[in-house]
Amino acid sequence: MKRVVPVIAVLLVVLVAPLVRAEGSLSDAQLNAIRTNCVNAQINLQHVQASDKLTRINRGYRYEALLKLMTSFNSRVVENKINAPELITIASDYQKTWELFRSEYSEYDDAMTTLIQMDCKNEPTTFNDRLVLLRDKRASLNGKVSKFDGLLDSYQSGVDVIKQGVQE
């Protein structure tokens, strides 16, 4: 019995803490603002979702095209016996980032759909919590875009080095 009580106490703290934090994080004025405006916010979110879908499709098309280009270039580098292992590594990282980007976008889009469809007037706190999580997911996608940029910059530099070698 003595052992069970602390375990139950810890479990209660773990289960209730997020709820306490969520309730405590919003003032009455903020909750009222969400209740009053959240339906309009959901309409805005629908526009954001449509725009994001377009961004995802077009970015996906370009990312895949670049991946194919890098794969073909790497094959030719190997065929021509040019030593450039960094290009293989960059392409591999790029492939992993692409897979992560795809799965993270799917999660983000699902979270967006849930937020758009929920009853926000009666559940403003849940709406806010889900919005905070959605922002985190979007920030992660933004991070992936930056990572792609960095990898493409590195690849471009690697190609420049090979070009210099070929010219000499």
């Binding site: 065929e79 690849y155 090979i162």
Partner: protein, 115 residues
């Protein structure tokens, strides 16, 4: 005639109809499985051919074929060709959204200050 005998006669006399019904059922089951797989994958959410996605279809980026052979000599010209294709795609990427945070901030959504 006995029970099993009647059953065999029933199926024998209607085997064409039963065969058609069976084929239709199998086709339906396979269609449902296919649609479920399509829905589970992220293909469905990106399918621009769906009826309510005319806007996306009309503004979708180019579908031009960009090929760079994976075999052949890697000389100055080949590298220049590669760089041109690479740059073209990167320039196109620069014109697209980056999932920055502005679209979801509380001011944009008009629900009070940011958390």
């Amino acid at each position: 005639m006995s029970g099993p005998g009647r059953l065999i006669t029933f199926f024998t006399e209607r085997r064409i109809v039963l065969g058609i019904v069976g084929a239709v059922l199998i086709a339906l089951i396979m269609t449902v499985i296919g649609l479920k797989l399509y829905d589970l994958d992220d293909v469905s959410r990106l399918d621009v051919s769906l009826p309510n996605r005319e806007d996306i279809r009309s503004s979708e980026g180019g579908n031009e074929v960009q090929k760079f052979d994976s075999t052949g000599l890697l000389d100055e010209k080949a590298i220049a060709d590669f760089q041109a294709l690479f740059k073209k795609n990167r320039t196109a990427l620069d014109t697209l959204g980056k999932f920055d945070g502005d679209a979801l901030n509380s001011d944009s959504l008009q629900i009070g200050p940011n958390e």
